[in-house]
């Protein structure tokens, strides 16, 4: 790889000089030089307003500094992959984007996250509204022990958008038809409709692992999110189920902003448009187009990680 390659395949709006970067290329122990240039390596720019803009995000779990001054902009309607070794803070970062970390008492969060330019870490933010707009899919499939239909309709029912209770039915004001349509639409979006359309009233726990995970995605879609956060969504699944989930993620990126945490670099390379690499210590080391990250990373540490020398 040559230095000119590096700068040309870089960002759309290169702002930095080449010298510090070429220096790092020659260093094998990257320590100090990394810190000097990290800001530029993570400064991935793209046309249009970012969907999510994160600035100087620090997370502490008690004395543990889990996330160290992370800043990154996430473009809309695309797949952003977060990779890195275990314990590098990528899941913590993901959980900050819909304030799921609020549920952990010991967690302290500093910094700013803006959703469409609106700060989510400020007084008076409606967590219900935030989580409706920023949905989440977890590592292990976690459908409720209810029927498939009830799983999908759970969110909208609880938000009062669907009225199918007994009283509503008695008053003739129930939304059963709307619910039916929503369930079908969500399941179709999650590519699960054809497999379960004849057994919507069966318990969701009777589905296979891959189907359960797609059900969880459909459940998340039913609420009508704009951003979908996925925390290693395929790590508990077999290769066939994994490839279905991956296809689904690529389809979803046409309408949704998808942020995926993954352990598998091949997966990140296959599905994502841009990739952010977190390394030990909870810092974001490099963030760029996926092709750039995997073919020609700026940081020596990232290259070591990707080629398997570290982490």
């Amino acid at each position: 790889m040559s230095e000119t390659d590096v700068t040309q395949t870089g960002t759309d709006a290169p702002t930095t000089a080449n010298d510090p970067q070429s220096e790092t290329q020659t260093h094998t122990t990257a320590g100090e030089t990394d810190e000097r240039t990290q800001e530029e390596w993570t400064n991935f720019t793209f046309p249009g307003e970012p969907k999510l803009a994160v600035e100087d995000l620090d997370v502490y779990y008690g004395d543990d500094h889990a996330l160290n001054g992370v800043s990154m902009d996430i473009p809309r309607e695309s797949v952003t992959a977060l990779i890195g070794p275990s314990g590098c803070g990528k899941s913590t970062f993901l959980r900050c984007l819909n304030r799921m970390n609020d549920r952990i008492n010991a967690a302290r969060i500093d910094g700013s996250v803006k959703l469409d330019g609106e700060e989510i870490y400020q007084e008076g933010v409606d967590l219900v509204e935030l989580r409706k707009r920023v949905g989440m899919v977890f590592q292990a499939p976690n459908p409720f022990p209810k029927s498939i239909r009830d799983n999908i309709a759970y969110g909208p029912r609880k938000h009062g958008e669907l009225n199918t209770g007994l009283v509503a039915r008695l008053l003739g004001r129930d939304d059963s038809d709307e619910e039916e349509a929503l369930v079908e639409q969500s399941l179709r979006q999650a590519a699960l409709w054809d497999e379960v359309k004849d057994r919507l009233d069966d318990n969701a726990l009777g589905l296979s692992g891959g189907q359960q995970q797609r059900l969880c995605i459909a459940r998340c879609l039913a609420v009508g999110p704009e951003v979908i956060l996925m925390d290693e969504p395929a790590s508990a699944l077999d290769p066939v189920a994994t490839s279905k989930i991956e296809d689904l993620i690529e389809d979803l990126a046409e309408d949704y902003t998808v942020v995926v945490v993954t352990h598998s670099m091949q997966q990140a390379a296959r599905i994502s448009d841009q990739t952010a690499v977190f390394l030990t210590g909870g810092e974001l080391v490099e963030y760029d187009d996926t092709d750039k990250i995997f073919e020609n990373p700026e940081s020596q540490r990232v290259e070591d990680y990707i080629t398997g020398k570290f982490g």
């Binding site: 819909n98 799921m100 549920r103 008492n105 967590l127 219900v128 509204e129 935030l130 989580r131 409706k132 949905g135 989440m136 977890f138 292990a140 976690n142 459908p143 409720f144 022990p145 759970y154 969110g155 609880k158 938000h159 069966d202 318990n203 726990l205 009777g206 969880c216 459940r219 998340c220 609420v223």
Partner: protein, 546 residues
């Protein structure tokens, strides 16, 4: 120890036909098990020890069986030691086995010593001596000799004592300074139980060919016999009550059919007290449909007590379940784990172990004066409800904790509030566990006598059912906020356990039948509550995983 690769004939993967050793020792296990079973039956008087069987008695047969088992085990052990069988004995019988047989021989030595030397300082010495020798033999000698010798001789000795009639049906033992007199009716079955268990264990070790396999077989038989024994004990207890109570309970049942529609206008002559009367059938069961008759004629019934018990349980559950589940929800879902929750946990555990008479006294001092100054169903319901409360809290909490956090996370990520999550995900998932707790609690409060005696009952044998539904009580604005009309929940009532206590306490010799009938009905009432609980648990569990 050498690790030669030469294969001995015992190393084959598939063993051939069962050997003589397996046949004989298997037979001995079966014989021991039979002795154990007969001993259990004899203890519960289903088959008393002096029953004549084929010219001899059960007792003698038991003794003979144990003698055979003891001799057989010792002979098999000696044969194995002599190399007649292929076994894999260890170098020692093992410490646990040695302690076990040591304890057996300690008991033997103590009993024999106490018989011959009197209850002086000498018998413990004898006991220690025999116990020590028994343990030492099992510990020092090679496994096939040590275990079979010490345990087998114990079985042999027990068998000989019984077969010779030294301890027979007519045997009585009343050591000085002891107020207890042991008779053969108890002594023989107890010996048969113990020796049968030991015999089965030892013979099973021989069956397994000693060594690890032998220990495994021995432990399996020991634990299995134990479990079977416990089950038999439970069945015996229930059977004991059922056999004695069934007659009195079903006395005077009458039932019949109306033959066709024309009898609708002209029913056959039936006594005036027909209670259940349909167009086709009529059914009369005086023991559970009538009150206690004040006149000498007729059958004394226990309907008031049944109704009292049912109302007490229903009221207590209705009070304790919402409060208890609510408290458990707060502690698990809202309060942070810390000093406060552990304090609450300790105090609920303490409350659950508080003796019921203490609750009763509290009820007598607190509720009775405030609820019409009379013993009443309501006071009983409150006291029993408070007794049930800690158990509901404890079990609900455990059940709520076992609901996976993934459900809560998933719900929160959908933007659903905590309370909605609890209502529609957490609580349904924990319901089966909550119901299990309630089932356990009902067993306790339905049989509770002491607090009922203090706060609910007055006349143990009422002729009339306490008017619970007809009256109804009123809340008022003045202290104590409850108005007391004549007939309402604030009226004393009887209850089954209290009635049982009263019958026995009154010393009504000829009326002990009445007590057995009452006991059986109490058992049935508790069981029907169980049935409701178990059925609803199955329903909710099926709803969760179909």
């Amino acid at each position: 120890m050498s690790f030669d690769t030469e294969r001995s004939s015992t190393d084959t993967l598939v063993s051939g036909d069962s050997s003589t050793r397996e046949l004989v020792s298997g037979g001995l296990v079966a014989l021991s098990f039979a002795s154990f079973t007969v001993g259990l039956l004899a203890l519960f008087q289903y088959l008393p020890a002096d029953t004549p069987v084929a010219g001899t008695t059960v007792s003698t047969l038991l003794g003979a069986a144990l003698t055979v088992v003891g001799t057989g085990v010792v002979v098999l052990g000696a044969a194995s030691y002599g190399g007649l069988f292929e076994t894999e004995p260890g170098h020692t019988g093992g410490l646990a086995s040695a302690v076990f047989v040591g304890a057996l021989w300690f008991a033997v030595g103590g009993l024999v010593g106490a018989q011959t030397l009197g209850l002086s300082t000498a018998w413990p010495v004898v006991a220690l001596l025999t116990g020590g020798v028994g343990a030492a033999v099992a510990l020092v000698a090679r496994e096939d000799l040590g275990v079979t010798l010490s345990a087998g001789l114990f079985v042999l000795l027990s068998g000989l004592v019984v077969v010779t009639g030294l301890v027979g049906p007519g045997w009585r033992w009343g050591p000085e300074n002891f107020s207890v007199v042991l008779t053969g009716a108890v002594g023989v079955p107890v010996i048969a139980l113990f020796a049968g268990l030991v015999g089965a264990w030892t013979a099973a070790r021989v069956y397994g060919g000693f060594g690890p396999q032998g220990r495994q077989t021995g432990a399996y038989v020991l634990v299995g016999t134990n479990a079977a024994g416990m089950l038999a004990l439970l069945v015996s207890v229930v059977g004991f009550i059922a056999v004695r109570g069934f007659g009195p309970m079903t006395e005077g049942i009458k039932y019949g059919l109306f033959w066709g529609p024309w009898t609708w206008f002209n029913p056959p002559l039936v006594d005036t007290w027909v209670i259940l009367e349909g167009p086709i059938v009529w059914f009369y069961w005086p023991f559970v449909m009538e009150g206690y008759t004040t006149v000498g004629s007729g059958i004394d019934g226990i309907l008031p007590a049944i109704v009292g018990t049912v109302w007490l349980v229903v009221g207590a559950v209705a009070l304790a379940v919402p409060l208890g589940v609510g408290a458990a929800l707060f502690l698990t879902e809202y309060a942070d784990e810390g000093r406060f929750t552990s304090l609450v946990e300790i105090s609920t555990n303490g409350l659950w172990s508080t003796p019921s008479i203490v609750y009763g006294l509290f009820g007598l001092a607190f509720f009775v004066p405030r609820l019409g100054n009379t013993n009443s169903l309501l006071a009983g319901q409150l006291v029993l409800g408070f007794m049930l409360l800690p158990l509901v809290v404890i079990t609900s909490r455990e059940s709520l904790k076992s609901v996976p956090d993934e459900y809560r996370d998933a719900s929160a990520a959908l933007g659903v509030s905590k309370w909605e999550t609890i209502k529609s995900v957490v609580l349904p998932a924990s319901l089966p566990g909550v119901i299990t707790g309630i089932i356990l609690g009902i067993g306790r409060i339905a049989g509770e006598t002491a607090p009922i005696l203090l706060v609910t009952t007055s006349d143990p044998f009422p002729a009339e059912v306490a008017g619970v539904i007809q009256g109804g009580f009123r809340f008022t604005s003045a202290f104590p906020f409850v108005a007391v009309p004549d007939v309402n929940l604030v009226q004393s009532s009887s209850a089954l356990p209290y009635q049982l206590f009263a019958v026995i306490g009154a010393g009504l010799g000829e009326n002990l039948d009445f007590a057995w009938g009452t006991a059986l009905v109490l058992l049935l009432v508790v069981m029907s509550f169980y049935a409701v609980g178990v059925a609803s648990r199955i329903y909710f569990r099926r709803k969760l995983d179909q």
